[in-house]
Amino acid sequence: MKPLKFILNDQPVETHTNPSRRLLDVMRHDYGLTGSKEGCGEGECGACSVLLDGHAVNSCLLPLASVQGRQVTTIEGYAKTQRFAVLKQAMGEEGGSQCGICTPGFMIAIESLLKKHPKPTDQQIRIDLAGNLCRCTGYNMIIKAVKRAAKVGEGLW
């Protein structure tokens, strides 16, 4: 059988694993990329978010087969970018990350949002982060962090 090929965090990879497996499981177990979490396992909480060709997707609902030939970026890959550095700083300064379990998913969702709307309105932020749940911050701090990152990192997105 032909291997399944895709780009994982900027590196081409090939695998012979069962293509129906959830991308989340493959990332965590086969590649040791444990930044993506399983929260609800049904596309509600966003803790498993990864970027597929730059767009946030729920890796708990995505079969590995669907990433054939495409680019997958997990929080580990994103963490190497300048945009991540700006966002991390902003999240820290605004208290947008507390217990941390939702944070990798939020970072991915925010990256996806800022790529589409480099200067997002409150409404755009709320719509694009609606698929990520956080039980600590009450969201306002995360929204502030997004705005701060957009301002500090102007031109990066």
Partner: protein, 283 residues
């Protein structure tokens, strides 16, 4: 053991469908949950699986003189980003999950999954959309009502797949989408409503309603709508009781974990009445 096939072209996908019996996985956001297994184990698919999400040739939105054509693998986010698609569609689509889900989930997937609670398909009934089904033997164009035949049941043959969705353009100047659910971003509808009207100086040229989650399939009653055509807005009030009575007979909701039939029945009627009241107020 089930076979997993990732075709490289649409043509190849159709050949597989001709020669086998497959589950088709597009965005996969419904089917991956349906066959979900215990943690870390592959889904428990009971048939061979064809993964088509990467057939980019089916990702398009074309605007023609009288219709839009939407390729089967166009994601909801692509649809939402399109500048010209009607607001009532976008309002319904925005109520589907979050962006992570909408970046892969498709309108065609919502049709093929045939859930009576699907939000995405509601405006298709409102606009008399048609679905192009294709196989190696050719294609056929079928009205949305004839594609979805019951809860989780469709007229799509095992050798066919959805190629595109055709949405006629209409001059509606008042539209509404309303969903009653437990909360945003996740809630599956208890009741959903679409209304559209084409009103010109005080005369109703067209008034349409669709109701979701209150019958085995989406309700659209052309006979009731027909009786409202050509009315003056000022006459609409006298028709309200008739309209609500007529819909009351068509609404057949069930009790389930999300809601109960009495609530659904009453809310569905209230939503129709609200839309009519709004039209009357705005003249």
């Amino acid at each position: 053991m089930v076979k997993h096939v990732i075709p490289e072209s649409y043509r190849e996908a159709l050949i597989h469908l001709r020669d086998g019996d497959f589950h088709i996985v597009a965005g996969g956001t419904d089917i991956m949950l349906k066959y979900r297994n215990e943690a870390d184990l592959p889904p428990k698919f009971d048939r061979d699986v064809l993964y088509i999400l990467n057939l980019d040739e089916l990702k398009y939105i074309q605007s023609e003189a009288h219709v839009w054509r939407i390729g089967a693998l166009t994601s909801y986010e692509m649809l939402l980003d399109h500048p010209d698609l009607p607001e009532v569609f976008k309002a319904a689509w925005l109520d589907i999950g979050g962006p992570g889900l909408r970046h892969v989930a498709t309108l065609a997937g919502n049709i093929a999954n045939a859930s009576p609670a699907a939000d995405g398909i509601m405006p298709l009934y409102l606009y008399d959309a048609q679905v192009v089904l294709e196989s190696c033997g050719g294609s056929r164009t079928v009205p949305i009502e004839a594609v979805i035949t019951g809860p989780k049941q469709t007229a799509i043959a095992s050798h066919e797949m959805i190629r595109e969705i055709i949405i006629p353009k209409h001059p509606f100047n008042v539209t509404q989408w309303l969903k009653v659910g437990t909360r945003k971003a996740d809630a599956i509808s208890k009741v959903s409503f679409c209304g559209a009207a084409h009103v010109e100086p005080g005369v109703i040229h067209e008034l349409r309603f669709t109701l979701g989650s209150v019958a085995p399939t989406v309700i659209r009653a052309r006979d009731i709508e027909g009786s409202l055509k050509g009315l003056l807005i000022s006459e609409l009030k006298t028709k309200t009781a008739f309209v609500l009575n007529a819909y009351s007979e068509r609404i057949q909701p069930i009790d389930d974990q999300r809601s109960n039939k009495h609530y659904r029945h009453q809310v569905a009627l209230n939503l129709i009445e609200d839309f009519m009241t709004q039209l009357i107020k705005e003249g």
